[in-house]
Symmetry: C2
Amino acid sequence: MNGQGALSGGWLAIAGLGPGAAGMVTPEVSDAIAAASDVIGYIPYVARVAPRPGLTLHPSDNRVEIDRAGHALSLAAAGARVVVVSSGDPGVFAMAAAVFEALEAGPASWRDLDIRVLPGITAMLAASAAAGAPLGHDFCAINLSDNLKPWAVIERRVALAAAADFAIAFYNPRSRARPDGLDRAFAVLRGACDDDRPVLFARAVTTPEQELRIVPLPHARGDMADMRTVVIVGSSRTRLIARAAGPLLYTPRSIA
Amino acid sequence: MNGQGALSGGWLAIAGLGPGAAGMVTPEVSDAIAAASDVIGYIPYVARVAPRPGLTLHPSDNRVEIDRAGHALSLAAAGARVVVVSSGDPGVFAMAAAVFEALEAGPASWRDLDIRVLPGITAMLAASAAAGAPLGHDFCAINLSDNLKPWAVIERRVALAAAADFAIAFYNPRSRARPDGLDRAFAVLRGACDDDRPVLFARAVTTPEQELRIVPLPHARGDMADMRTVVIVGSSRTRLIARAAGPLLYTPRSIA
């Protein structure tokens, strides 16, 4: 931590725990948690932090991101050493943006806090690695869960992403707020892509419950994903290599 | 390693070293390197691996990715424990796709090899974290270096990404093969975006040489990037928070 907020000694780190496996938590994140007085986050992510004397855990429910962010900033301003934990990377559809929204709307003194974002392995990178390298060429990431994002915007983005021939990673494909979002996204893609376009459903990647399923786009259904799934749709160049141990899915580096 | 290729005992891991800082190398990657007999990669990445007895380092020049991939596969097939190292994440514009291209074109026996991809912190995540959270909403990643990709394809992708209102991460913005690519990409964006669109130049992120510069799109120039820079262009919603310690750049979670 770089010494801002030195009057109080408090600091705030917004840290990514990666997709699940302990071997994918960076040393930087482990060190921040080891130095923390308070860890704040959504219940299942805080559950990944081992209790110890001197550390207060603050698990909170989902969908209270802004409250959680304000709590973290208040604690740090009062001198606490605070780590806000996210799954994956905190900057990708996770807590970092929520903390900055709260910071921007909060007291001016919060802008003097020592605040850092510690990156993590985001779900699409772990899913891609588990299946091969489907994100090996240009790609995009679209969050299907945001219930404040009008559907027309999502549909337009999906259509433009297909026109650009990006591989597409869909985060939060089965949110409660929009359970049919993934089926609607697939419908848009079926209107724009060939039938052999592969779709990867990567569930609970890097955990003991990991499941990978690859189906061609015409067979892809929204109910093949749940809240622990990230979905990657290949580009027109994405290929499957057949193997006894299971297929490898990858996108070559060149479109030529 | 999961035991395929058990006849030879060899295996191949394609590993991401992250953007530069030792604290961002995952334990999984460190463990693979500790177990390896051979480490293969581009010279500056192999230089990040400490020599030790029993480990052979194979540094190679840039632009020989397919030769390097074939070498790695041959060594693993002969029983070596091989780690191919990439900067960042091996699945994002790096060695994983090259290895799978070589595997697909090579002898059928290579398909029985024990081969895994070990993800890493890719440059855009580290750059985003260093600046705030500019990738906090939907975004895309475009590689400007691939000299096999026709310029018309890049230009079309950039225009579609702007139409979709993605934040955009440009990798390899100043390749020798296409030194004017970034200026041409900015020209496309200037035709589609407002003048207050922020552009982040993040050089050598997480290293002692790290430099961050944020300029509005009309002032962005290709020569503000070098071969160690990743460039992130905000979406229409990306915001700057002024602070004494330097601005925070972030994209709110919602477009509403």
